[in-house]
Amino acid sequence: MTIDNYTKLGAAEISAGVRAGEITPSALVDAAFKRADDIGAGRDALNIFLHSDRDACCEEAEVVHGRLEEAADVGVLAGVPIAIKDNIASLGLPTTCGSRILKDYVSPFEATAITRLRANGAIIIAKTNMDEFAMGSSTENSAFGPTRNPHDVRLVPGGSSGGSAAAVAAGITPIALGSETGGSVRQPAAFCGVVGVKPTYGRVSRYGLVAFASSLDQIGVVGRTVDDAAIALETIAGFDKMDSTSSDADVPLYRLSALGKPAPAARDPNTEAMRIGRSPVPLPPPPSETTLKGVVIGKPKEYFPDSLDRSIADLCERALEKMRGMGATVREVSLPQSPLAIPVYYIIAPAEASSNLARFDGVRYGLRVDPGKGLRPMYDATRSEGFGPEVTRRVLLGTYVLSAGYYDAYYKKAQAVRTLIADDFRSVFASGVHAIFTPTTPTPAFPVGAISDPYEMYLNDIFTVTANLAGVPAMSVPIGRVRNLPVGGQIITPHFDEYSMFRVGYALEAALGADAHK
């Protein structure tokens, strides 16, 4: 193994190399920052990083190295450079959520997901750019300027985890954490040609994830490959006593078993488990005509409308064909309430956001703008200057749908329709379907500045938002290119069945091979 092909290495390879003494953590930090410099991750170019501290990373690399020298088990992510979306609280680097209202704010505590990554030897390289408070689908809504798509700097990387997807796509880190509320990991992963995973709601602790819409938010992972995403999710998943909505369901090993081997025995979901001490595991074997034998893939007609970009439909068809070739059965299914998902989402998410963002009031932390006329003008000025236009719009929208006289017509109604949407998934899965396959997005990446109508922007989430509303896990994997731009295919599985999702993901990735990126 050599550091020269760093931008192609997977997290498992890196970690194995570090453990074997073939690469040092310091060399990996250097390689990540060199790649960032080479590709122009800075403010004046791709604008991927919001904050990074190279010196601190070098020190951390030394610490990991020291632990290795002592023959300590440093974990499955030993020395792996990782980028983190800027709405996940980190020690040492600011956590601004892409907002003026939190400019320079450094969290005095760290998100559980980051603690688990660090405990497994990962090195946090940078905090990545994002749509302000994760409200957006293009990373144009950042108070610190838009991020550009590494495939074509004229285009958006998608959003809101655009910086994290771009960091992985640009080869700076093999893994990045993002966050999902309505597709904010999968959509940018699709636009950037990388793998994006939104776990089941409750699978990963939200402690330290700055809340946008609490009933929908979930930390997700971006990986160069399915394996990178699997190793990252395995590391951060599991119950956390600091998050009342985190699940104590067992976390199986997603990697070992993904290609058809039986899932390993459930492990005790130790609340404090850091999942260290696991030996390196072999990569899955190449796909064969039996890899997906017995797997039923549902193809929901609502996600393949006549209006869908023909080339995207064709790439999906090719992917489905590959799965058939591995023994899967493809069945037409229906998720009839899906067309209602965008209206439902854009009521529930802003409603919760209007409440979650009330804490940004200039009293205890963050920006304070005080015109010197008393408390009320301080509130108004702080929040008016601190929030960008899209955040303001959603806070107002959310306030409206919760306000007296409108609650029943909007919020309550939306929560009921949300139940119907979740029921759709339940009945499809109950009918014997193991995984649902759809396009991740209706279009490939679009140019910066191309979409100005808010609702048109919201429609970017049309295929992804249902998984958030239903709480089911979903991932986007690259399935080819349209007009030389990456396209993602989405795999959705039942609650807490990330195992099947990865199984299909690994298989599809292997079957498509280089075609996934052409």
């Binding site: 505590f109 998100a111 939200r206 994830l209 998050d243 963002l357 009330a358 205890r364």
Partner: protein, 479 residues
């Protein structure tokens, strides 16, 4: 109260639960810490922090609800009450709204003239968290915020509009406070802010069933302030209606100094709390078996205890009522009554000497040096004639002073009653010698002087002489 309008009152009582830590984080609930010391990411509402519910708070809230006769809902839901205030860190209060912890209770606050219970309905009881403290007068031009209280667990007890007078309201509050004390769920101190009351009041002509427009009165800092505020607001509303005006629905603040209510400057319609289910917490599910056990294990409530005291210790209802006013007084009394097996004497002592001593020294009975067993020992000495009634009071005050047991105090101080004939004979001889005039008249047949002479002997013996023996000896002399 006038004879034209009936007062209709419902009360909202907020009570701080006696937990070591806050409702949703592990910060201390101790009173009086330096500002913002008892805070953490959760109660400071730092970005990314999340609430986790305190098990003890649930236990105490359920106990309170059961003690107030409520039904516990096996599924209750936390909700966000959204409003901006600098001492409300999240910009919302975690409370319960349309699915509260408990509903449908009642308390009995007294008897009607024809002997029926006056029962006040309790609409609901729900859990919520407290806000912090805003201090307006400490720094010029600034309000100081202390979040030590932010997140402290509370219950809100909402009564039905069943109260018909300020006196009723006072009785209701005292009853609820007493019950909560018995349940040991709260310190229920208005001074320390662990009990707060808001009142909803309307008036209507006697005989009318339709409710009048109500106002909300806040800012009362004692039960008597609640009563006075209600009287004042009743008068204000009466005058309004008498002069052909209408009552406006509004929030009023009680001004204790002026003895009046004044409108708060709140704009009508500006309270829109935008309640919705708290997505950071799943519903609170309570196992019916657990609820059942909690009900079985409730401490004895004041009413039951009162009745039992009457039966067990042969005291009057009025006496039992006095003794059960607080659980610590009742516990003390019961300890004395059991050990002395004399409920009446125990009553006399506890409500007499003990209460007077506690009042004088401002000590809580639970911390009183003379424990029930100690007092019972003194009562037993009196019963057995080993200490006279007169000496007993002196023994008691020395017990309070020294903390020594009754028998030891009596012995050390020579306060044991003396029945020994030779000692009494000596005292009688001495008295007759020292008072020759009285002695002569008595011995010559003036029998009414016997009492005077007994008094001299008692005084000489410092109360130790058994008065019965003294009388016998004197009678023998007088022939």
């Amino acid at each position: 109260m006038n004879d034209r309008y009936e007062m209709v009152v419902g009360l909202e009582v907020h009570v701080q639960l006696k937990t070591r830590t806050k409702a949703f984080c592990g910060c201390s609930t101790d009173f009086g810490a330096p500002p913002n010391v008892n805070t953490c990411p959760v109660c400071l509402a730092l970005p990314g922090a999340l609430p986790v519910l305190n098990e003890k708070a649930v236990e105490l809230a359920v106990r309170a609800a059961l003690g107030l006769g409520c039904q516990i809902n096996p599924i209750s839901v936390f909700a966000r009450k959204n409003y901006f205030y600098p001492d409300l860190p999240k910009g919302y209060q975690i409370s319960q709204f349309d699915q509260p912890l408990a509903t449908g209770g009642h308390v009995v606050i007294g008897k009607t003239e024809d002997g029926k219970d006056v029962q006040i309905g309790i609409t609901r009881l729900h859990m919520e968290e407290d806000a912090g403290k805003s201090i307006h007068d400490r720094y010029p031009g600034a309000t100081a915020i202390d979040l030590n209280r932010a997140g402290v667990p509370l219950i809100e007890i909402v009564s039905e509009p069943d109260l018909r007078s300020a006196t009723d309201a006072g009785a209701y509050l005292r009853t609820v406070k007493q019950i909560l004390q018995y349940l040991d769920v709260s310190d229920v101190s208005m001074e320390e802010g662990s009990l707060r009351v808001d009142a909803n009041i309307s008036i209507r002509p006697f005989g009318q069933t339709k409710l009048g427009t109500k106002t909300e009165v806040k800012n009362m800092n004692s039960f008597s302030a609640v009563e006075r505020a209600l009287e004042a607001e009743y008068e204000r509303q009466s005058q309004l209606l008498d002069s052909g005006g209408n009552v406006q629905q509004q929030t009023l603040l009680w001004d204790a100094t002026l003895g009046t209510v004044r409108p708060s400057r709140t704009k009508e319609g500006s309270h829109d709390y935008r309640y919705f289910p708290e997505p950071d917490l799943r519903p609170l599910l309570l196992d019916p078996k657990w609820i059942h056990d909690a009900k079985e294990n409730l401490p004895e409530l004041p009413d039951v205890r009162k009745k039992r005291f009457v039966g067990d210790y042969s005291i009057s209802v009025g006496e039992a009522e006095q003794l059960t006013s607080t659980p610590s007084l009742a516990d003390y009394y019961e300890g004395v009554a059991r050990a002395s097996m004399d409920g009446k004497a125990a009553y006399n002592w506890v409500m007499g000497e003990v209460s007077a001593t506690l009042r004088a020294s401002n000590i809580d009975i639970a911390l009183f040096r003379v424990r029930p067993a100690d007092l019972a020992q003194l009562l037993n000495l009196v019963r057995d004639g080993a200490v006279s009634h007169t000496a007993a009071k002196r023994v008691f005050s020395l017990m309070v002073e020294t903390g020594k047991p009754a028998a030891q105090v009596a012995a050390d101080e020579g306060l044991s009653q003396v029945g020994d004939e030779s000692a009494i004979t000596t005292w009688v001889d001495e008295v007759l010698e020292e008072h020759p005039e009285e002695a002569r008249r008595y011995l010559s047949g003036e029998k009414k002087l016997q009492g005077v002479l007994v008094g001299f002997v008692m005084k000489k013996s410092k109360g130790r002489a058994d008065p019965k023996r003294v009388n016998q000896l004197l009678s023998a002399r007088g022939g």
